[in-house]
């Protein structure tokens, strides 16, 4: 049995430290999700309005955020804005800003997609039944939109969790950084620690995201 470097995990507080690092990344994604869902809903609704000017501005924002790799956005906010505006941003705040910008863009696109996927006859039938505008939205459109939206938003959470690993690159001490420190500290007595530790992180991320994906898939099937 070759040495796989698993035993390093059980030395001292190594496992706890890894979990602490994972929590740092998860916390960033949770904060970003909580802020971007309401903002995304707002923007998504605005996108369906037929105001040309507004539409153009939102469109540029959405396209830019969605076409740029999230790493580039992180660099722009972390290195770019601090340089141009002379303020001081911690890596964590910069990442929350970036992931809110990104999450809002993604969410608004989901909302817009869900809203325009409601067939026109739903609105027309409401009118024919004599429902007011508020009633139409409250009893017919919003319930249907929400059903379509919830599985997609849950998926967005897993995407957010996966993407926040990138904060490593702007110096936030998250799980991969902690792993590097542990591996470095144990270089002499367990040279193979990299295998065991990175495998553990791989599995930890899987355990964090898989249940959420399953839930999203379950709801999608149930509400189809």
């Amino acid at each position: 049995m070759p040495d796989l470097g698993i035993e390093v995990l059980f030395k001292g507080k190594n496992m706890l430290r890894l979990l602490g690092g994972l929590w740092t990344a998860l916390r960033i994604s949770l904060i970003a999700v909580v802020i971007s869902i309401p903002l995304g809903i707002l923007l998504g609704v605005l996108m369906t309005k037929k105001n040309r000017m507004l539409h153009a501005i939102l469109r540029v924002y959405l396209e830019f955020i969605r076409i740029m790799p999230q790493m580039v956005l992180l660099f722009l906010v972390y290195f770019g804005t601090t340089r141009s505006f002379g303020w001081d941003l911690s890596g964590e705040v910069a990442s929350i800003i970036v992931f809110v910008l990104w999450g809002t863009a993604e969410m608004s696109d989901l909302v817009r997609g869900a809203l325009i996927s409601i067939p026109k006859h739903q609105y027309e039938s409401c009118e024919a039944l004599g429902l007011s505008r508020t009633q139409t939205y409250l009893y017919v459109i919003i319930p249907q939109t929400i059903r379509r939206l919830i599985p997609l938003s849950i998926n967005l959470i897993t995407r957010m969790i996966k993407t926040t690993t990138l904060v490593l690159m702007i110096g936030v001490v998250e799980v991969l950084k902690v792993a590097q420190q542990i591996i470095e500290a144990n270089r002499m007595n367990s040279p193979n620690a990299a295998f065991g530790i990175y495998l553990t992180i791989f599995l930890l991320y899987f355990l964090a995201c898989w249940p959420i994906s399953l839930l999203a898939r379950h709801l999608e099937k149930k509400w189809r």
């Binding site: 690159m169 991969l176 991320y205 994906s213």
Partner: protein
């Protein structure tokens, strides 16, 4: 507070060749990764569609593992973890392998949803017309499945090309690496970031535009429901 958006064009001209080199690397690895991802995705989707025993379970596990973990973690495991058990590969191979591992599952899902969107009655009708399995697949299932898969396929290609931005983590000298290097060495932050954005736009914008054109054409070719 100094608002310093002024770009030093001499510096930019001096940096362009560096970015060009990095962009070529990014595109090369990205395209290779996408190609392998498409291959893996096709195989997995067919295995799932024809419900081949054992292989079906294996691909299902692979798809779940790959979809629910971040590329950065996958790359770290491949690049730093695997050599410890004797599997040593170069950084560029690692990038392609990682991208293919991640992309394979996304492509598989795109193809599978396309295949599943073709109603069973289509296959049954083809059989009753005397077509064999291969003909049914080639002339009946594939064209319909493709038109359903294309939007997801295009989205995946763009997603994978964007994901190449994490390659710098395994010390590949891609665009991100170059930008970080220039920022760290010379503090030419504004110019380095400006070029970074421009080069990513040059790579990604054409793909995105081409994608939406293809999507629109194929939608029109799709069968009405």
């Amino acid at each position: 507070m100094s608002l310093d958006f002024g770009l030093n064009w001499d510096v930019i001209a001096q940096y362009i060749p560096l970015y060009q080199k990095a962009a070529i690397l990014t595109v090369k690895l990205g395209v290779l990764g996408v190609l392998f991802a498409v291959l893996i995705g096709l195989v997995c989707a067919l295995v799932q569609y024809y419900k081949i025993p054992v292989l079906k379970q294996i691909t299902a596990v692979y798809i779940e593992l790959s979809r629910n973990t971040p590329l950065l973690v996958q790359l770290f495991f491949i690049y730093y973890g695997l050599p410890k058990i004797g599997l040593k590969i170069s950084a560029s191979v690692c990038g392609v392998v990682g991208l293919a591992f991640l992309g394979g599952s996304y492509m598989a899902e795109a193809f599978r949803s396309g295949l599943e969107a073709v109603e069973p009655i289509q296959t049954e009708s083809a059989y009753s017309l005397g077509m064999n399995r291969a003909q049914t697949f080639r002339y009946v299932i594939l064209p319909q499945a493709m038109s359903v898969s294309v939007p997801a396929f295009v989205a995946n290609v763009i997603f994978l090309l964007k994901e190449t931005s994490v390659f710098s983590a395994v010390s590949l000298m891609d665009l991100m690496f170059t930008a970080k290097d220039l920022i760290g060495l010379y503090y030419k932050t504004t110019e380095a970031l400006f070029l970074l954005v421009v080069f990513y736009l040059i790579i990604l914008l054409p793909v995105s535009i081409l994608g939406s054109i293809v999507e629109r054409r194929i939608r029109r070719a799709g069968f009405g429901d």
